[in-house]
């Protein structure tokens, strides 16, 4: 009797082993049966990622630098940022990190586009229905807290080492903020303003696109910012499962204690993050002209 309190009543070792075996073999047979079709499902994404990476790598570097500086100006309307990004990219190239940086840029761009394309509609759906919110919230919590390697394992078993698992790893980790903040932003839209839209006979679509999303933009852009930051933070992890880019030299630096190599590549990741963010935030601010302070009137 006393034994019951001192020792936790565990499953017997054999049962536990069988239990794990059942799960493992079930998943293995699942991956054998459906692995290929799942792989095919991700083919378009893979194709786009490869195409984009090749485009970045095959375009002569001066053109890339000019395009980046030009995009900076288009997005944020700031000469300072354009020149800053021009110098940063020149330095990155000079220090021998050009190709890795292009690979990382391709991965992050595709990951961010995917996260926004899935995350914003999901956030809108959550804002419209308390039931959907109750369902999705815990999933987002899991996505953000579950150790990366734990969900990477089944992904690797299904798809093998490569770009797509890397992309999935990045997206799983980076998507929750954009979903959460879109949901929050839309829920926080002033009820009085929505009532006015109702009183003038606006339908659901007119309310969503004309009132709710524009007024939720500050929160949505905060979400995009978080998503980009988290995606870049995942670059090193992604490199562990065979994604090329700035993560691989960092990984080597950790294994061999190359301080300078680690620092340089790490800072290149930081520089990318800052440029991505400033451009998008600048663009977001221009979408929200009404928040500028005018002195007269």
């Amino acid at each position: 009797m006393l034994e019951f309190f001192e020792e936790f009543p565990e499953m017997s070792r054999g049962d536990l082993r069988d239990f794990k075996k059942v799960i493992d073999s079930a998943f293995r047979s699942f991956s054998r049966t459906y692995g290929e079709s799942i792989e095919n499902f991700f083919d378009p994404v893979l194709w786009f990622l490869i195409w984009f990476e090749k485009l970045l790598l095959n375009t002569p570097w001066p053109i890339i630098i000019l395009v980046v500086a030009g995009l900076c100006y288009l997005g944020a309307r700031s000469w300072k940022l354009s020149i800053g990004s021009l110098l940063t990219f020149a330095l990155i190239g000079y220090l021998g990190m050009w190709e890795d940086t292009m690979s990382t840029m391709a991965l992050i761009s595709v990951a961010t586009i995917l996260c926004i394309a899935i995350g914003i509609p999901l956030g809108v759906w959550m804002a419209r229905s308390d039931r959907v919110q109750a369902l999705v919230m815990p999933i987002l919590d899991v996505m953000q807290t579950i150790p990366i390697f734990v969900y990477l394992l089944p992904v690797l078993m299904l798809l093998g080492i490569g770009k797509v698992p890397g992309l999935i790893a990045v997206c799983v980790y980076a998507m929750p903020p954009i979903v959460r903040l879109t949901n929050l932003g839309i829920r926080l839209v002033d009820k009085g303003v929505l009532e006015a839209a109702d009183a003038f006979g606006a339908d659901k679509k007119q309310k969503l696109l004309g009132v709710q999303i524009p007024l939720a933009l500050p929160n949505i852009f905060a979400g995009i910012n978080q998503t980009i930051m988290m995606a870049l933070a995942m670059v090193v992890i992604a490199s562990m499962i065979g994604v090329r880019g700035l993560g691989i030299p960092v990984l080597q630096a950790i294994q061999n204690q190359y301080l300078a190599l680690g620092l340089m590549n790490g800072l290149a990741i930081v520089a990318l993050a800052i440029i991505f963010d400033r451009v998008l935030q600048g663009y977001g601010k221009r979408l929200q002209k009404d928040r500028e302070v005018k002195k007269n009137g």
Partner: protein, 349 residues
């Protein structure tokens, strides 16, 4: 009933979990207090019946919590009633489908809000054109029609400003123009001027009265301010605890308050400014002393009466025909505040 633009019939609204059970109790005579303590439901509106003829400016007057903002939202069904009908031009709003209701809101009734309800991300011009934009009218026509209203409410030059850059009074002029721009026949105004300071409020009342003279809309105007109600209303409905306690023309309400609650309400107003000589005159067809128009306020009539030889003036109608006389005694007793017990001491028409 065909003459009434808006007809509210037997409207009840209960806020709570099981409104349909609660409403049966109310119809069977349960009190509001008992409903709250036994069912946890709040009675918002209690058997409202109001008929509003076309082109009338109808004021619904009541203190906070009287249900007036709830009531106005039933007219365009921003709130659904528990029981009752709202009939507009013969159609029951409560039976409309979502699609019909949207059409109704787009073309027939527009609304002005206490807190303006402007779209912060749209400019003044884009705000005023919102109703037309929702109607899906082509751009040039929207521009043309919007500009008319921008000019009419005196916002010319401010088209490209955002609401946050404007003062409260200007913001509400945007709200008013936005509502008028759709050319809806019905204008719902929910404490539209209550959050403005007194001088601006007066100015907005002038604008509204000026526009109404030209436009002849059917206007429901909600307010808690008696002076505003008396100044604007063709007719006033007094709302208290979700019930209409009195309904009538401003003159009638002042001369014949239905109960002590309304008496308390009107005791501090400037009676001489609100009351017209037509309300206090004695019938007469002969001409005595100076002539004054029947819609002259007592305030303006008093000096004329006082300076006349016999303390007597003749009242004429708009066509100049003699219809009555007013003595100094009539005028002074009319502006005396009524005591709580005596009523109907005045001769009125």
């Amino acid at each position: 009933m065909a003459d009434n633009k808006i007809s509210i019939k037997g409207l009840y609204k209960v806020f709570g979990d099981r409104p349909n059970d609660a409403i049966q109790n109310i119809i069977n005579g349960m009190s509001k207090e008992k409903l709250l303590s036994e069912h946890g439901s709040v009675l918002g509106l209690n058997n409202i019946n109001i008929d509003i003829p076309a082109e009338q400016l109808h004021v619904i007057m009541g203190l906070s919590g009287s249900g007036k903002s709830t009531l106005i939202r039933h007219i365009n069904r921003l709130i659904d009633p528990t029981v009752g009908k709202v009939i507009i031009d013969g159609d029951n709003i409560m039976e409309m489908s979502q699609e019909e209701l949207r059409e109704f809101r787009r073309y027939k009734a527009s609304m002005v809000f206490q807190k303006f309800g402007l779209f912060p991300h749209r400019t003044v011009f884009q705000n005023i054109s919102y109703g037309l934009f929702i109607q899906g009218i082509r751009e040039e026509e929207v521009k043309e029609r919007t500009q008319v209203w921008v000019d009419k409410v005196g916002l010319t030059g401010f088209e490209k400003y955002y609401p946050a850059h404007l003062s409260g009074g200007m913001q509400q002029r945007v709200g008013l123009a936005r509502a008028l721009a759709t050319d809806a026949e019905i204008l719902l105004m929910d404490e539209a001027f209550s959050s403005l300071d007194p001088l601006i409020r007066n100015n907005m009342q002038d604008i509204l009265l000026g526009l109404q003279e030209e436009l002849h809309k059917t206007i429901i105007f909600i307010t808690h301010d008696l002076d505003e109600a008396l100044r604007l209303g063709d007719e006033i409905s007094f709302l208290r605890d979700g019930k209409v306690v009195q309904r009538g023309k401003p003159q009638d309400i002042i001369l014949r308050p239905a109960d002590d609650y309304i008496k308390d309400f009107i005791k501090d107003i400037n009676r001489s400014r609100v009351l017209k000589v037509s309300s206090i005159m004695e019938n007469e067809t002969k001409v005595f002393g100076p002539k004054i128009r029947s819609n002259t306020s007592i305030e303006k009539a008093l000096p004329i009466i006082a300076s006349s030889d016999k303390g007597l003036v003749t009242v004429v109608n708009a066509k100049g025909k003699t219809i009555g006389k007013v003595t100094l005694k009539n005028a002074i007793s009319a502006i005396e505040r009524p005591s709580r017990d005596k009523t109907n001491r005045y001769h009125y028409k």
